[in-house]
Structures are given as structure tokens and as C-alpha cells.
């Protein structure tokens, strides 16, 4: 079932003193996210990720287009009871403690007071804030506020969680915990939609990603498909510190690390290279096809500006 369906979202702002100039923040965007998947919304800063998320959350109104979440309109309170949202660099009522804030948001989400108390404790534990639950938020560090933000987003056990740059402001351990939490949400059957410009996070977590640049969707597809495109090259690694003379004649670069040598050759040269290594009695360690990383794909999409959808894509 489709969890999120964006149907031609478009956003144009009027700028300038007389508001006569038009600035396009988002060109018509069509996107579908299926239930139970982790979907990464990738793009450099200013690409339109946050604008899209804000429109999905009903904070900013689209100039054109619409969207449905779990088949419901964006202003439907029943839909809002089933989503959680972590904004980028979240701020909260700093006169409240973490516990009070969660209890407040729990009340707004319709959580009964009795079960709500237990759920608040459980959520604080889950994001690693049990020790600071009764400290006012004005005394929290940026990383702790991020955890509070995650806590309020998952407190009411929503079906879909939206995270805007969830790793922002977190130390390496915190980032790992958030990655684990997102993976756990997926195991619990939740849908996770998150924006990021940290590609390693997206590559390790996402089932599918969309790439957006200058307000335009540049590519969308399953991470496995995007990163499995063989470039027609193989990486060969062998034991030793020298390369066969025949391979040197190909003009390829050799990287010597300790007692291993690594080089990249074309698939046409692969058999000849292995034969040369065998002849020179150099021990072959591995031959691995070179795959396109998500970063390669990302960079190519930003440069080409051409929309591309891969197999299995819902858009």
C-alpha cells in the first residue's frame, strides 16, 4: 500500500520589495513511498528537501499540486495522529522538562494519561534521555534536543515517521543510535521518510532514495539498483609490492599498501592481468567488479540534471 503520495507538489515564492519576482523553490514533484520502507530524500543544501517536507506536514502550502498520506488529505487530524515529524534543528518549549514536553505532545495526540506516562518513560529510555527526563530543555545540548525531537516524533507510535536531517548535530555514537532506531522502526513495520545530505547514512539505511537538486527531482530508485551498475571495470588485488611489467604498460595506477597491490583495469584486460600475475608467481587476493556508489550516482545526477527512474520505482 502507498504510504505517501505526492501529486505534483510545486512551490513558488514571491520575492522582492513589491513581491513581483517569482522564485521557484520546487518544480512539480511526483513521488510515491510504499508502506514499510525507509525512503531517503537526498539533495544538497537548498535543494528543496525541507520545503517538500514542510508541505507534507501542512506547514507550508503548495502553489500547486497535492499529496496524500495513508490515503488521507494533509489537513486531516486522523492522518496527523498517525505520523511523527522531526524538523531540522528542532526547538521546543525550553521552560518544559523533556518529560513534560512529551506528556504535552502525548495529550495533544490523544494518548490517555495513564498509559501515556508509561509510554513517555519508554520513549525517553529508547532515545537515551532517561537520565535527563526532569531537566528543563533550556539546559539541553544540541544533540540532546535532537533526541527529544526524535522522541516526540515516535512517542505516539505513528505509522509513518518523517525526519528532516535526523543526524544533524549528533556525534558519531548518536548517529549510529539514530540509524539503529530507524532500522528498528522499519522492523516494527513503520515507514520512514527522511531527508539528508549525508550519503553514507542513506546508503546504509534506505530501501529507496530520491535525489533532488535546485527544486527538481533528478532521480529515484532502489539503492540496490542505483549502486549495482557495473562500470565495466574490475579491481584486482594481489600480494606483493610490485606489478607485472605487462600491466605497467597499460598505464593504470597501482596502489601499494603494506604487502598488497591494488589496481583497476577494464573487464577486457581482466583475464590478461590474472594470467600475468600467475606467470610472475604473484598471489591473487581478489577480483571485484567496480560498482557505482550512491555518491557517484548522486554526483552524476546533480551534474546531468536529467530525471531517471529505476526499475521497481513507485513514481
Amino acid at each position: 500500500m502507498t504510504a505517501i503520495e505526492i501529486l505534483g507538489f510545486e512551490k513558488t515564492y514571491s520575492v522582492g520589495f513589491w513581491r513581483k519576482k517569482q522564485k521557484c523553490a520546487l518544480k512539480p514533484l511526483h513521488l510515491q513511498v510504499q508502506e514499510g520502507e525507509i525512503f531517503g530524500f537526498l539533495g544538497p543544501n537548498g535543494a528543496g528537501k525541507t520545503t517538500t517536507l514542510k508541505m507534507l506536514m501542512g506547514l507550508v502550502f503548495p502553489t500547486a499540486g497535492t499529496a496524500r498520506i495513508l490515503g488521507m488529505q494533509l489537513d486531516d487530524p486522523r492522518m496527523k495522529a498517525q505520523i511523527g515529524f522531526l524538523p531540522e534543528q528542532p526547538y521546543f518549549y525550553d521552560y518544559l522538562t523533556a518529560r513534560e514536553l512529551l506528556e504535552y505532545y502525548g495529550q495533544l495526540s490523544g494518548m490517555p494519561a495513564r498509559s501515556g506516562h508509561g509510554r513517555v518513560n519508554e520513549t525517553l529510555e529508547r532515545v537515551g534521555l532517561s537520565h535527563a527526563s526532569d531537566v528543563q530543555l533550556r539546559k539541553f545540548s544540541k544533540g540532546m534536543l535532537q533526541r527529544v525531537g526524535i522522541a516526540q516524533a515516535i512517542l505516539h507510535d505513528p505509522k509513518i515517521v518523517f525526519f528532516d536531517e535526523p543526524m544533524s548535530g549528533l556525534d558519531p555514537m548518536g548517529r549510529r543510535e539514530v540509524r539503529d532506531l530507524m532500522a528498528q522502526l522499519k522492523r516494527d513495520g513503520k515507514t520512514v521518510f527522511f531527508s539528508t545530505h549525508i550519503l553514507s547514512d542513506a546508503e546504509s539505511l534506505c530501501d529507496r532514495v530520491a535525489i533532488i537538486h535546485r527544486g527538481e527531482l533528478r532521480g529515484v530508485g532502489a539503492v540496490a539498483d542505483l549502486t549495482s551498475s557495473v562500470q565495466g571495470k574490475v579491481e584486482i588485488v594481489w600480494q606483493g609490492t610490485v606489478a607485472p611489467a605487462g600491466m605497467k604498460a597499460w598505464g593504470v595506477d597501482f596502489h601499494v599498501t603494506g604487502k598488497t597491490v591494488r589496481c583497476v583495469v577494464t573487464e577486457d584486460q581482466q583475464d590478461a592481468a590474472i594470467e600475468m600475475l600467475r606467470r610472475d608467481r604473484l598471489r591473487l587476493i581478489s577480483v571485484i567488479p567496480v560498482r557505482t556508489s550512491l555518491e557517484d550516482y548522486f554526483v552524476s545526477k546533480l551534474k546531468t540534471g536529467k530525471m531517471e527512474a529505476h526499475a521497481g520505482v513507485g513514481s
Binding site: 514542510k54 506536514m57 506547514l59 495522529a81 515529524f85 521552560y95 504535552y104
Partner: protein, 263 residues
């Protein structure tokens, strides 16, 4: 997840607004008020003869009005804009809360704060009154009516501050709200002036006189201090007027806020 009735959500938002005011030490103004009333009662008892009650009621009610107006404007203008600037609205409105519920909840919360504040100030006024005259008089009941009118005035000012806060910066909102408060305090004079003009000027001044809040009608401090009773129809008229004006201002704030992009 249980469904949460709309009136519960408004109550939760109102309670949190009240809690914010308390934790931001807004009620500390009561200390200044208590000091003012104590000082006035002692001083008046020493320097005046026969007019102690008049002075205490005038000074007390005027202070209640001034302190509350300042709180209503300075907190009211930040009710929406501060939430947008601090981005606390982003998480609030992604919970099952409608925008109009947020506005109404904020209004109820600040109004509640002002009512509590006024309640404690009223105790101060009556304590000072008891101190200077040693006993209460039957006419003192009209002081309660004057306090009720002051609360009605706070409702209008809070609603106006909220209205301005929904579309302009805190500074401009403060300027607008204070200006309306001052003009509204002289609205009877404005109506009198309108009656003296002719033609287009008459239309414009009459329109302006009826558009600004009529705080003159809500101000019975002087007559109450002179132990004059307040007419029953005035209580009814002022109540209806304040509720209507407040509803219109809140409706305006809701209409604007419903369409506002939270960048």
C-alpha cells in the same frame, strides 16, 4: 490511540500557555503591585482626610488595568510570532492540532493568566481598601463590576494582540496594539468629534470611532470610586460588546493564520 476531542486539545494548549507565563515569571508583577498598594494605603492614610477610599480605588483599579494591559500586549504579541521564530510550531502543528485550535488555545491560556493575575490584584485592592477605611461598604460591590469590565478590556486587548501577532512582527504588533489601546481609551471623544464633522470627514471619523475598541465604555473606575452604581444594561451591553469584538478579532487571527506559510 484514543481520539482526542477538540475542546481537550484547546484546554491542553491553554494550560501550557498558562504554564509558560508562570515559568517566565509573568506573575512576578504581583509583587510590584502588592508593594504599590501597600505603599499607597499607608501614604494615603497619612496625607488625606475623607478621600482615602476614593484614592485607593482609583489608584488600585487604574494599576490593575495598566499592569494587565502591559501583560496582555507584551505576551499577546509573541503568542504566535514567538512560536514561529522559535519554530516550536513545527512540531506542534504536525500533531493532531488544527491551526484555529492553536489560536483559540493560546487566547484562552493568556486570558486565564490575566484573570488569575487580576484575581490576586483584586485581593490587594480590597485589602488596601479595608486598611484605609476599616470596613467594607455596600457600594464596594461596584468595584467588582469595574474589575469585571477591566477583564473584558483584557480579553479585547489579548485578541487584538493575537490578531496583529498572526501577521506582523512583535515590534509592529506592539505598536498597533498600544495605539489601539490609547485610541480606544478615548473612543467616546472620537465619537464626539465625529458628530461635529460633516460630509466625508464625518463618514471617516464615525467609521474609525466604531472600528476601534470602545474602552471608554469599559472604564467605570472614576464613577465607582465615587460610589456611583453601574447600570445593569451597561453590564449587559459591555459583556456583549466585548465578546463580539473579541470573537471578531480572534476570527481574523484564525483566518490569517490558516493561510500563513510557516517558512
Amino acid at each position: 490511540m484514543n481520539s482526542n476531542p477538540m475542546n481537550f486539545r484547546i484546554a491542553h494548549i491553554a494550560t501550557n500557555t498558562f504554564r509558560e507565563a508562570v515559568r517566565d515569571h509573568v506573575l512576578y508583577n504581583l509583587i510590584a503591585f502588592a508593594l504599590l498598594m501597600s505603599g499607597a494605603a499607608i501614604l494615603v492614610g497619612q496625607i488625606s482626610f475623607g478621600i482615602e477610599r476614593l484614592v485607593v480605588i482609583n489608584l488600585g483599579l487604574a494599576s490593575v488595568s495598566l499592569f494587565g494591559t502591559v501583560i496582555a500586549i507584551f505576551i499577546g504579541i509573541g503568542l504566535v510570532s514567538k512560536e514561529i521564530d522559535k519554530r516550536t510550531l513545527y512540531t506542534m502543528l504536525t500533531h493532531p492540532v488544527r491551526r484555529w485550535e492553536f489560536i483559540v488555545g493560546k487566547f484562552v491560556g493568556l486570558s486565564g493568566t490575566l484573570v488569575v493575575n487580576t484575581f490576586f490584584m483584586a485581593i490587594g485592592v480590597f485589602a488596601a481598601l479595608l486598611y484605609v477605611s476599616r470596613h467594607f461598604q455596600k457600594a464596594d460591590v461596584w468595584v467588582l463590576v469595574a474589575l469585571y469590565f477591566i477583564i473584558l478590556q483584557f480579553l479585547i486587548i489579548t485578541a487584538l494582540a493575537l490578531l496583529f501577532s498572526s501577521f506582523s512582527s512583535p515590534l509592529l504588533s506592539a505598536v498597533f496594539a498600544f495605539s489601539l489601546f490609547i485610541i480606544g481609551s478615548f473612543s467616546e471623544d472620537l465619537r464626539g468629534f465625529a458628530a461635529m464633522t460633516n460630509g466625508l470627514a464625518r463618514w471617516i471619523t464615525t467609521g474609525a470611532a466604531y472600528l476601534v475598541p470602545n474602552f471608554s465604555a469599559l472604564n467605570v473606575i472614576s464613577s465607582v470610586a465615587h460610589q456611583q452604581p453601574v447600570a445593569g444594561h451597561l453590564i449587559l451591553y459591555n459583556t456583549a460588546y466585548a465578546l463580539l469584538y473579541t470573537t471578531m478579532a480572534i476570527s481574523g487571527a484564525v483566518l490569517i493564520f490558516e493561510r500563513r506559510n510557516l517558512k
